[in-house]
């Protein structure tokens, strides 16, 4: 029997809208939703079909036998696994208090479900993965604009000029954003790209700055300097909505294009020419404030500077600029209900909200649970439930993490595949793949808000379950089932949609429900109340930062050069993989079975390393990863670069096992190297030695 189902992709966390065709419970076709993407889909999206068929993923719940990480598993029923987990959780609750339980997950529209479970258990310690992703960008926007990083959507298609600092959008794909950008370029728009190496995005750019690693903040400051010097800013907007503009003017006086050119290793004229372009293109100029900007020690301030540039452009609530996302209320309709449980009034173990008052209390900072795990302060952490979150792949130094995790009595991994953390955990609960499960309805805010939903396209191949059922079952056993007011997904949908006038059937026509048929824009003269800072203004000098003892306008400090013979290790993404999630997917593995280490041509010549040679990449304490070299003149000589997610050590993932190198394993001691202002881990502050590996045979000695 043939059928067609609108749903949401799950190969990466962009969650593009899709339509799936099936015949007799077999997927025959997946495409991007034609109403929103015109069918467009990336390689990962199509490879979802191989994910369903992949037998190298957990096929039923597993409970560990033998030591952690030994890889001996007992196959158990779901009831046994649920009972095992909840018996342990009950014991931990009694002995150490509910606050000793941590729940972590990826960020996104379904965080509320996992957070609800955590809070209902009595623990405030839910955290998403943003300490290795958007935390700096989020907090930079909060400190300046009073709204977080989802507080604006970018109207790229109507822009004249998009400026990207390391936002390699044509490799870290978001198809809707990609289409907007290419449409903008087709219309004659400009794209300026800043990175330490050439990328797919740089190829499409009309201007490319290859900067010295760690100098993004310097370049952004010189842009501000030049924009202010030439008075290319929206004076009315600043007058009306921005405080402390004079402080900004005197602060950036020292950061001239000539100075930045020297600091970043680029041409002064190029900076000046760029600002000329900006003058011609404003206000429709978007400075992207960063996506995964958990990189350098000053990434928070770099992001803040980019946000400030947007403010100077006066591009907020402006076509071709930053649009304030609209909600159901703006469309005159009632919103959906989401699972929710108030956070228990207990100090968070990661210090967010009390030790670090300037961070967003709702998101937490996952890496700051490790100090608590190690020291027992402010209280011990005894259980960690990782919902589609892989701390060992996402965060630095898994060896160091393991020492801390060994103080826990229960480690649970809920995921569709074997994560590195899952392999070390006590219990693996296999979630059904995105094609085999339903997820709750979610609201997509924007200039045209809509409701979307992921629907199960086919019955699960193996004995796997959807998250809504897993958390319901765990909650019932922990006597907190009332926070999950449903037994079936249909009941959950009904509960979510109650009072909206919509039913789940209304999603079937297009895969989403538009809440408006026209773009909703606020009056730019009446934006008071939109900037939720203490003063209600866009705060150049943030009271919140000042209260936390942090500067708002931080003087630039030059990044240290790698010691002689060493390189700064930079990571990134390719268009065919989504970090560690997809490395073992048969079709994506075929496209990219291993990563490589990009080395500058001149540096490689000194090391006597040629294209394709095996190199040892050595961290300071001797930890070594091995990988093939890619030699190019288009990377800064201070840096070496690799695609993140490889070098996996789960033996049952035969394709991914030890294929390529892992950057996070080389970040020895870097779990505690994080940004006190932005909260994110500094993932590009590690230096490595590269040498030609002894694994390159000199000559053949056997027959």
């Amino acid at each position: 029997m043939k059928k067609s189902v609108y749903s949401m992709c799950g190969m990466c966390t962009v969650r593009c809208p899709i339509r799936v065709e099936l015949e007799d419970n077999r997927v025959t076709w997946i495409e991007g939703n034609s109403h929103l993407l015109g069918g467009a889909m990336c390689a990962k999206g199509s490879a979802g079909m191989a994910l369903v068929d992949d037998t190298e993923r957990p096929q039923q719940p597993l409970i560990r036998e033998g030591g952690r990480g030994a890889g001996r598993w007992q196959k158990v029923s779901w009831h046994t696994a649920y009972d095992y987990i909840t018996d342990k959780l009950k014991k931990i609750k009694v002995e150490h208090g509910p606050e000793s339980i941590v729940v972590s997950s990826r960020s996104g529209p379904w965080q509320g479900m996992y957070e609800t479970f955590c809070h209902a258990l009595g623990s405030p310690n839910y955290a998403n993965h943003d300490c290795t992703c958007g935390s700096n960008t989020h907090h930079a926007s909060l400190s300046l604009n009073g709204v977080g990083r989802t507080g604006f959507v970018y109207d790229i298609k109507d822009a004249n000029h998009l400026v990207l600092f390391g936002r390699n959008m044509f490799a870290s794909l978001s198809i809707a954003e990609n289409l907007q950008t290419l449409d903008m370029l087709d219309k004659g728009g400009r794209l300026t790209y800043v990175d330490v190496r050439q990328t797919m995005t740089g190829l499409k750019a009309t201007r490319f700055f290859q900067v010295r690693p760690g100098t993004d903040y310097a370049l952004a400051l010189s842009f501000i300097h030049e924009v202010i010097r030439k008075e290319i800013y929206d004076k009315d907007f600043i007058e009306k909505y921005v405080s402390d503009f004079d402080e900004l003017c005197s602060f950036v006086e020292q950061y001239s294009p000539a100075w930045a050119a020297k600091e970043c290793g680029i041409k002064e004229k190029a900076i000046k020419d760029f600002v000329e372009e900006v003058a011609a293109d404003m206000p429709r100029v978007i400075f992207h404030p960063g996506w995964n900007l958990s990189r350098y020690k000053d990434s928070f301030y770099a992001s803040r500077a980019l946000h400030i540039l947007n403010v100077l452009m006066g591009n907020i609530e402006q076509q071709g600029g930053l649009i304030i996302p609209k909600e159901p209320g703006d469309c005159g309709v009632k919103g959906i209900r989401n699972l929710n449980c108030p956070k228990p009034d207990i100090k968070r173990a990661d210090g967010v909200g009390w030790k670090y008052p300037h961070f967003d209390k709702n998101l937490g900072l996952a890496h700051l649970f490790f100090p608590a795990m190690r020291s027992g302060n402010p209280y011990p952490i005894k259980a960690w439930i990782a919902m589609r979150h892989d701390p060992f792949t996402g965060m630095p130094d898994p060896q160091e993490q393991k020492l801390a995790f060994d103080n826990c009595d229960l480690l649970v991994s809920i995921d569709t595949h074997y994560s590195e953390f899952g392999w070390y955990a006590d219990v693996i609960l296999p979630e059904s793949t995105y094609l085999e499960r339903d997820n709750p309805i979610c609201l997509q805010k924007g200039s045209t808000p809509r409701l979307t939903v992921r629907r199960k396209a086919l019955e699960p191949t193996f004995d796997t379950k959807p998250a809504w059922e897993i958390f319901k079952q765990l909650a019932d056993r922990m006597d907190i089932g009332e926070h999950f007011p449903y037994n079936t997904i249909e009941e959950l949908y009904e509960w979510q949609l109650e009072g909206t006038g919509y039913t789940i059937k209304d999603f079937e026509e297009k895969g989403f429900i538009p809440l408006t048929d026209k773009v909703i824009m606020y009056d730019r003269d009446k934006l008071d109340g939109q900037f939720k800072t203490p003063s209600g203004k866009i705060e150049i000098i943030s009271k919140k930062l000042a209260d936390a003892g942090l500067e708002s306008l931080k003087p630039y400090e030059s990044p240290i050069k790698p010691p002689k013979g060493m390189f700064r290790l930079i990571y990134g993404r390719s268009a065919v993989h989504a970090h560690g999630h997809t490395i073992n997917n048969p079709l994506l593995h075929e496209l990219m079975p291993e990563n490589t280490l990009w080395i500058n041509k001149k540096s490689a010549a000194k090391l006597n390393v040629g294209e394709g040679d095996v190199v040892d990449v050595v961290a300071e304490n001797g930890v070594t990863e091995r990988v093939r070299a890619h030699i190019t003149e288009f990377i800064h000589p201070e840096a070496v670069y690799t695609v993140h997610g490889f070098g996996r050590q789960v033996p049952l993932q035969t394709r991914a096992y030890h294929a390529g190198m892992s950057d996070q394993k080389l970040m020895v001691g870097k779990l505690d190297d994080w940004d006190k202002a932005g909260g994110a881990i500094n993932l590009c502050e590690v230096f490595v030695t590269v040498r030609r590996s002894s694994r390159n045979p000199k000559r053949r000695v056997e027959l």
Partner: protein, 150 residues
């Protein structure tokens, strides 16, 4: 006379290799054969900016295809609209076609033991749809062009 061709707008191509997987999944191919291919030359510095162009190749559907004449089983067929395809019923998997093709386009499907090549997804064409690579191209860079339109 060839009626169709696939055109790549290199200005929009981002070298994401999506087309290769769209093609494979539509034809239900295992790891091994890749019927269309995105490639690019090494980066070159143009006025200080490293640049390259992408190219797309599937099958040229030659006017006078060597693969058709060499096939001992008459399994390689050129349709009236120019599409060259493998009749999977007739193919004996000898791969003479691959040897005869100047570009080695036909490939062995290890699952079926038979030759497989780009046929512009002719079942889709016959249903007024576009080839998989074009339908799902990530950036709408690939276009399916009917030459009679020109």
């Amino acid at each position: 006379m060839n009626k169709y061709m696939i055109y790549l707008n290199t200005k929009r191509c981002i070298g994401c290799h999506g087309c290769e997987v769209h093609c494979k999944t539509n034809k239900n191919l295992p790891v091994g054969p890749i019927l269309c291919e995105i490639s690019h030359d090494p980066l070159k510095s143009l006025r200080g900016v490293p640049k390259t162009e992408f190219a797309f190749r599937s099958c040229y559907h030659c006017d006078d295809p060597f693969c058709v004449t060499i096939c001992p089983a008459s399994a390689m067929i050129k349709r009236e609209d120019g599409i060259v395809y493998v009749d999977q019923e007739k193919c004996i998997g000898c791969m003479a076609c691959a040897g005869a093709c100047p570009w080695g386009i036909p490939q062995l499907n290890p699952d079926s033991g038979k030759a497989i090549k780009c046929d512009y997804c002719m079942e889709r064409i016959d249903n007024n749809l576009k080839p998989a690579c074009v339908s799902k191209c990530t950036t709408h860079a690939l276009k399916f062009v009917a030459l009679s339109d020109l």
